[in-house]
């Protein structure tokens, strides 16, 4: 294992982490502020990717497609909130799970009807394609650097809004004591809607920037939703800071684990055993991490303020 390979793995982990953060940020707020379990959050990620594909086909410009997709994802999130989720806030978690699971199935099928079952891709914009020569043998795609930068910029912006603005204050307050915020005369319904819309837009943004790296296909949001739940549990529900730290942690551990588990095992065991067990162990690592953190800090790494640690 050379140093430069390790560096690349760290960059990849960071990039995956940033992507996870974009999805988890919305999920943790919706779950934390509203106590609402939204399984359909992963679908927003798929919607973002398909929107990007559609707009690239329509306009021919990736950058234009990014902004159009963001707008549409926001509107789409608000529409879902207005049509479906709004009526579920007062219901039990089981009802919420059922309804949002139904939305997953519906939207996955809709994507298939509209775009076909085949896997689609879009090309990154020209000025971001190509790769940078890191060392003699290692190259790193420019586009992945760009996603890291874009993700970190969004994280910074989100942190600023949540920490220093009035709406951010309300969100933080809503995450810990929603009844009190409502009693103080804040229109909690509108607050929910804003949080929901922004959350949907962030997940959509994750889908848009992921589209040129991964492929676009129906059901692409389902797996990443599970990892996003792991992230918000590790980070502490309702905590943006926690989601950020946890997302990077999960991204790095998952990426490094997948490369190093087999190698590490083959030092101790023989190669065929390592090949059998390594990949299985690697895919378990983040869940082991979650279980450990739940034992040591049941409220997560950085619980939202006011929640007993």
């Amino acid at each position: 294992m050379s140093l430069s390979l390790f560096l690349i793995l760290c960059l990849n982990g960071l990039q995956y982490g940033v992507l996870l953060f974009l999805i988890a940020a919305g999920l943790t707020l919706v779950f934390g502020v509203m106590g609402f379990i939204n399984l359909a959050h992963g679908v927003q990620y798929m919607v973002g990717a398909y929107l990007a594909f559609a707009y690239v086909q329509l306009t021919g410009s990736f950058m234009l497609a990014v902004f159009l997709s963001l707008g549409t994802a926001l509107v789409f999130g608000l529409l879902l909130e207005y049509l479906v989720f709004r009526h579920l806030y007062g219901r039990s978690h089981l009802d919420q799970v059922l309804a949002t699971f139904g939305i997953i199935i519906f939207l996955n099928e809709l994507a298939k009807v509209l775009f076909g079952p085949a896997t689609l891709t879009i090309a990154p914009p020209d000025f971001l394609s190509g790769s940078i020569q890191l060392t003699e043998t290692l190259r790193y795609p420019v586009y992945r650097f760009a996603t890291i930068v874009a993700g970190l910029a969004v994280a910074l912006g989100l942190f600023f809004i949540v920490s220093y603005t009035r709406i951010g204050m309300l969100i933080r307050a809503g995450a810990t004591t929603p009844e009190m915020v409502s009693a103080l005369g804040v229109n909690i319904q509108r607050l929910f809607m804003i949080v929901f819309g922004v959350g949907a837009m962030l997940a959509g943004f994750a889908g848009v920037i992921a589209a040129p790296i991964f492929a676009i296909e129906p059901g692409m949001g389902d797996n990443i939703l599970i990892v996003a739940f792991v992230v918000i549990i590790i980070g502490g529900i309702g905590s943006i800071g926690g989601a950020f730290v946890a997302a990077l942690l999960v991204g790095l551990i998952d990426t490094l684990g997948r490369s190093l588990a087999t190698t590490a095992l083959s030092v101790v065991f023989d190669a065929s055993f390592a090949n059998q067990v390594g990949p299985a162990l690697a895919s378990m690592l983040i869940y082991i991490l979650m279980a450990t953190i739940l034992v040591v800090r049941p409220k997560g790494l950085l619980p939202a303020k006011g929640v007993a640690p």
């Binding site: 050379s2 430069s4 390979l5 690349i8 793995l9 990849n12 990039q15 995956y16 298939k112 076909g116 079952p117 085949a118 896997t119 689609l120 891709t121 990154p124 394609s129 190509g130 790769s131 043998t137 290692l138 190259r139 790193y140 795609p141 586009y143 992945r144 040129p212 790296i213 991964f214 492929a215 296909e217 129906p218 059901g219 797996n223 990443i224 990426t255 490094l256 997948r258 490369s259 087999t262 190669a271 090949n275 390594g278 990949p279 299985a280 895919s283």
Partner: protein, 387 residues
């Protein structure tokens, strides 16, 4: 009993009589038509339908009733659909499946009911050796063969070291073993990724530092699209060769596009195989369905031609199972691949080719025939088959 009842009874027996003696040939099809792999099943339906349409809806002079069922890539669903095809619809032939695990699910009830099962794609080793069956035929290949031929291609290309990467499930391991069986150089790394893997960056980093001459992989469907795109994005295409099975084919190329051009693959057929029947098939298929057919469509078309030839030989009578089997075994049809014959285990003996990915003048992508690697290649399980 009064007269009305009697006439009703007569009418009923007459109705039953007509169904029993109807000349219609009933063919059931079990393929995957939901989820991301639906594209593969759709190719099979389209390829078969094209053959039917060209023959005026008849095979072997018999009017065909085709019943298409979706197995949803779930063994229990496949079993249910297959059972109802043989028990309720009483079909004469079942054509299926796309995936080997679906074939394993439907195999027993179909062959036990003495209905002919013809696989247009799945060709597991399970039914090629001592579990071969008089009622089962495969018009595709035996699953291990493409990987074995990839090993031969690597030898022919003079690759000395190979980085091999497959998904961590049965078919992945089979392809890995098949490749190692024929490849004479060294395999520098064997990497097993999770099935449905999203981000290959970690693996690509390992590949780029491995100094291997080429990458051998088996990443069907969306995994292949992601791998090829990421392989190209990481700038690896300049330093090493990419060779694969079921990774760069007509179902994934619309997603991979330019990134896959020049990549090598092993197969039995490409849309530009130089023979008259094939040229006509590809042209007709594209005109009708608007996309370039892949090997799945070709195998389905061949399956229809096979049934056509067999039913014609028996004069339209499919009740004599031994006669139908003998007629099928002769494989007296023009395969789009060229030479085609059945081995003693009812798996094909056929030529395998080296293919590469090209961009056509109209901007569409397809695999292209380069050269024949091995002629009349039989699978390595047939000697265990006693039939």
């Amino acid at each position: 009993m009064n007269l009305t009842h009697m006439s009703a009874g007569l009418a009923l027996s007459a109705a039953l009589g007509t169904t029993a003696f109807a000349e219609d040939l009933k063919i059931g099809m079990v393929v995957t038509l939901s989820g991301p792999p639906a594209a593969l099943g759709q190719q099979i339906v389209d390829g078969f339908q094209l053959a039917l349409d060209e023959k005026g809806g008849m095979l072997g002079g018999q009017k065909v009733e085709l019943i298409v069922e979706d197995d949803e890539l779930k063994p229990d669903v496949a079993l249910l659909k297959a059972t109802s095809l043989v028990e309720r619809d009483e079909v004469d032939f079942v054509v299926g499946t796309v995936f080997s695990n679906m074939l394993a699910a439907i195999f027993k009830p179909i062959v036990q009911s003495e209905t002919f099962l013809i696989s247009p794609n799945a060709g597991p080793s399970t039914f090629a050796g001592k579990n071969c069956n008089p009622y089962f035929f495969a018009t595709s290949y035996q699953n291990n063969q493409n990987a074995e031929v990839s090993g031969m291609i690597a030898n022919a290309q003079g690759f000395e070291s190979i980085f091999a990467m497959v998904p961590n499930y049965q078919a992945g391991r089979d392809n890995m073993d098949g490749f190692k069986q024929t490849f004479e150089g060294t395999v520098t790394d064997e990497v097993f990724t999770p099935l449905g893997h999203q981000d290959f960056s970690a693996e690509l980093a390992r590949i780029s530092t491995s100094d291997a001459d080429a990458l051998f992989t088996f990443m069907p469907g969306g995994m292949g699209v992601r791998l090829v795109k990421q392989f190209d994005n990481a700038g690896l295409s300049e330093n090493m060769k990419f060779m694969s099975v079921f990774t760069t084919d007509e179902t994934t190329l619309p997603g991979q596009q330019d990134a896959a051009v020049g990549f090598l693959a092993a197969g039995t057929w490409a849309p530009d195989m130089p023979n008259e029947a094939n040229t006509a098939f590809v042209a007709a298929f594209e005109a009708k369905y608007g996309y370039i057919p892949g090997s799945y469509a070709m195998q389905a078309y061949d399956t229809a031609s096979l049934i056509d030839s067999a039913v014609a030989k028996t004069g339209g009578d499919v009740s004599d199972k031994d006669a139908v089997r003998a007629a099928l075994k002769e494989a007296d049809f023009t395969s789009l691949r060229g030479d085609f014959a059945f081995n003693n285990n009812h798996y094909p003996v056929q030529d395998f080719q080296m293919l590469n990915v090209v961009k056509r003048e109209d901007g569409k992508f397809h695999t292209s025939f380069v050269s024949t690697i091995v002629e009349d290649y039989a699978d390595s399980f047939h000697q265990d088959c006693e039939m």
